[in-house]
Amino acid sequence: MRRRDFLYMTGLGLGASMLESVPVFGRAISIEEALTPVDVKLKKRMADVALNSAKSKGATYADVRIGRYLNQVVATREKQVQNIANTESYGLGVRVIANGSWGFAATDNLSDDSIAAAAASAVAIAKGNSKLLTEPVQLAPQQGFGEVSWKTPFEVNAFEVPIKEKVDLLLNVNSEALKGGAKYVNSNLFMVNEQKYFASTDGSYIDQDIHRLWPTFTVTKIDSAGGKFETRTAMSSPMGMGFEYLTPKDSEKIKGGPVTMYKKRYDMLEDVTEATVHVEEKLKAKPVQPGKYDLVLDPTHLFLTIHESVGHPTELDRVLGYEANFAGTSFLTLDKWESKKFNFGSKQVNVIADKTEQGSLGAVGYDDEGVKCGKWDIIKDGILVNYQTIRDQAHILGLKASQACCYADSWDSIQFQRMPNVSLAPGKAPLSAAEMVKNVEKGIYMFGRNSYSIDQQRYNFQFSGQLAYEIKEGKIVGMLKDASYQSNTQEFWNSCTQLCGQEDYRLGGTFSDGKGQPGQASAVSHGCPTSRFNGVNVINTGRQLG
């Protein structure tokens, strides 16, 4: 069975639950095993077997990734636990250049013979592919770092927190929802630990321990007589953090608006209590009148618009055509970048790629081809100034080094260009969301991610939120339903007129962004402040079935 079939079937079985978007693979293991990492000396020895075998077979470059991928999922609905799973996937992937072509092979049999055979097979595949080569691979130079390591900064390792504590938290969340009149509630905790070892013929031996987690829920209320139902999902964000994210802290909350917002600490119980009120309001909300509105977009919503309309079109492999058969290409063609005056957005719009931001999903020390991570401008004062690149693309932009955007979702996947954290810089002056709303005459204030769709070159998009509030003459007057906005990327970012300040800046993110064939998932964050976009087209998506 293929991976996408598995995902689809999982989705079928679980109905409306969110499990379908999160792949969980590998063998199930006990928690004790999960906490014992593989000895780094053993990993170095295995890596050297692969590198030496590749070189002896004629590789001019080789890198090897030894990956141990741990996932833990706790899934509940109402008063019961649906699933607790600990899984592990462990193996080795070797990538080589031979005769100017890439080759790759992977194995989960980690004997010396099997590793050497995988390396030899990668070289054979590279030599085979070189017959169809049009231009040889050009790698940006990369120094070797010797033996180094990096670890996600966290306070509490989520894998060390007892399962019982996690189950209790989720069942308490469900109990609050049911108390608040919810008919159904699903709550889930997803935890990931990537123990990755990278070595290359450049002389790097990089050991990394990467942690992510995502707490989330969906609350459902039913109007049975009217044949209607509404849901509200969590205002949490998946984070590159430990379990401390789930310890509420007042200084990390933004209160005073229609929805409590969370920075780097999340209060799941408080959020679910609010959600039960919101979902009731959604059942009674007024249908939106289609037309032009000024949109005030909260980071829980805007992060995904940034992901789709700025993150994806600035991936250099899409621009060049390598993703044409699946995800698509990009409207941000090289001539627009070369002109140094392509007006992507208004002057307020500054978008930064950053693989180092603490707490973000994309933060790592080094990427999956051994390049040290950094930070760079993509949109500067509204102008397109850069893309996202890896070692074999850097020369196309005249760069002397890769921007460290290489990632593989497993030891048996081939690493390729993936999105770094791509974030919208906050405004320079302090400004709260409440103050921003005061100046809006006719607007909609949107929170949370809902439906999102964008074309294959990233021009035309349609998005909706979990919650949409009508703003009239500077005041929030009530909740709206069936509101989606449709726009064109360049027009939309040029309609950005105001950004809240640093104090409102928050991270949103996605745990499983899909790309490539065969498909691979990656996790990425997008920071932004609450932002205002003037005169955006809003449609009403309400329909009647017979």
């Binding site: 079928l12 409306a16 595949i125 159904y184 049975s224 044949g227 074309d455």
Partner: protein
């Protein structure tokens, strides 16, 4: 040795069961062997070959279940995986929805395996891609594509003597062909169990002709149009709809299949009378294993008959709650159609839009199943029975339920993804904006 025969699989599973000390034990053994080749900008970019096998053991004490998996098959490893699943079961909370295991069942032997497909090598994959590249290079177009084949087996056994085995093969190919100016794009994809049906040369020619034919697209006003959906476009809409053919979410009141006041819409005329959809694991064009992961037999099932909802899927648990028989869903749906070809459907159309495929379909409203998405890789204006000119891509907002109420005509079904889907002529399909994407 990732592909085991029925006898080999049975022998391993029997041995594993002999190590079990739990009240009940379920085993699932699967292996796959396959490879892929990816190309872009008229050259191969990546290629790989993957072979793996894995065993999952589910042990239950009372209503507490634990699961563990392993990919080593010596006796010690097999004992270890059974013991681990038993340890996890003892730590797990009770599952109130736990269902006692099924006993032995009778399954049909579905024609899912093809020896020629199983024998594909990296060289034969490269040769098939070479044919595709030949088309794009000769026409001075640029191709990006993906070819993948796999052979896999699944076997399940439980402590109540249930055993099931299936072996399948699959080959899939897709290619996007674009012109050098980036003003035209065409696409095709195809999937079969049988290698002999796959013709990468002919398929690439279709994608190339769409790339050339879609160049210089004109903008026409969005609005409601009669559309002819090629099977690929129609299939994506149907796939999104069938995710909701689940009795539990309907009974719970959170599906478009929920009835006002409670219950499901089984028995209601929800679609046009010419809509008939079933699934059948024995269908030679879209065969599937005749059992699901729980060991429930999958038989021929009518889902929609003359526009009436006949069945929704029931898990074993939900079936027991509702006092009905469990009914697994089978993704390999067959939608009955007519005898007309796509060309004949075009000929019979006064004014309309021909859609090659849709892209980025997302649910907008689960209550009405309103979906949004865009046309892609070949959208054309039809007038007086002829394709007149290419048009710019549209965004649509439409529900497949409404769409299947507006069926004007159905053509001859063809293999599309996992199903047999006809091209469809649909009136009043709602396009809401234009896209500049090519």
């Amino acid at each position: 040795m990732a592909i085991l025969s029925k006898e080999e699989a049975q022998a391993i599973l029997k041995k594993v069961l002999s190590f079990s000390k739990a009240d009940s034990c379920e085993l699932s053994l699967n292996g796959s062997d396959g490879g892929n080749i990816r190309y872009a900008r008229n050259a191969v970019s990546t290629a790989g070959q993957i072979s793996k096998m894995s065993l999952a053991v589910s042990s239950t004490f009372g209503k507490k279940t634990g699961m563990a998996t392993i990919n080593e098959f010596d006796d010690e490893s097999l004992k270890k995986v059974v013991a681990r699943s038993e340890e996890l079961a003892k730590l797990a909370p009770e599952n109130p929805e736990f269902m006692p295991l099924l006993g032995p069942q009778q399954y049909a032997d579905a024609p899912t395996f093809n020896a020629k497909t199983a024998a594909i090598t990296p060289d034969s994959r490269a040769e098939m891609v070479g044919k595709s590249l030949q088309v794009s290079k000769a026409a001075k177009l640029e191709a990006a594509g993906f070819l993948e084949n796999s052979t896999w087996f699944n076997a399940i056994m439980n402590s109540k003597n249930l055993f099931a085995y299936n072996k399948s093969t699959d080959i899939s190919f897709s290619v996007t062909v674009r012109n050098q100016e980036g003003t035209g794009s065409g696409y095709i994809e195809q999937r079969f169990n049988d290698l002999d049906k796959m013709d990468t040369l002919a398929l690439s020619k279709i994608a190339a002709s769409k790339a050339t034919g879609s160049a210089g697209a004109k903008a026409i006003e969005p609005g409601k149009y009669t559309v002819i959906l090629e099977p690929l476009a129609a299939s994506d809409m149907l796939g999104n709809m069938f995710r909701g053919f689940d009795a539990r979410s309907a009974d719970e009141g959170r599906s478009f299949m929920s009835k006002k006041g409670g219950g499901t819409r089984i028995g209601e005329q929800l679609f046009s009378e010419n809509v008939n959809i079933y699934s059948d694991p024995m269908n030679p064009d879209v065969p599937t294993a005749a059992w699901n992961n729980d060991g429930v037999p999958i038989n021929k099932t009518q889902w929609i008959e003359n526009g009436v909802v006949k069945n929704l899927s029931y898990s074993r648990y939900w079936a027991e709650q509702k006092g009905v028989k469990p009914l697994p869903f089978n993704r390999s749906i067959v939608m009955e159609g007519g005898t007309q070809s796509l060309e004949e459907l075009i000929k019979s159309t006064e004014k309309g839009i021909l859609v090659t495929r849709f892209w980025y379909i997302r649910s907008v409203d689960p209550q009405t199943l309103l979906l949004t998405g865009l046309t892609r890789d070949g959208t054309f204006y039809i007038e007086n029975g002829e394709i007149k000119f290419p048009v710019k891509n549209f965004r649509f907002n439409e529900s497949p339920v409404i769409m299947l109420n507006n069926v004007e005509a159905l053509g001859k079904p063809v293999r599309t993804g996992n199903g047999m889907i006809p091209p469809m002529k649909i009136r009043d399909f709602t396009f809401t904006s234009l896209s500049d994407a090519i």
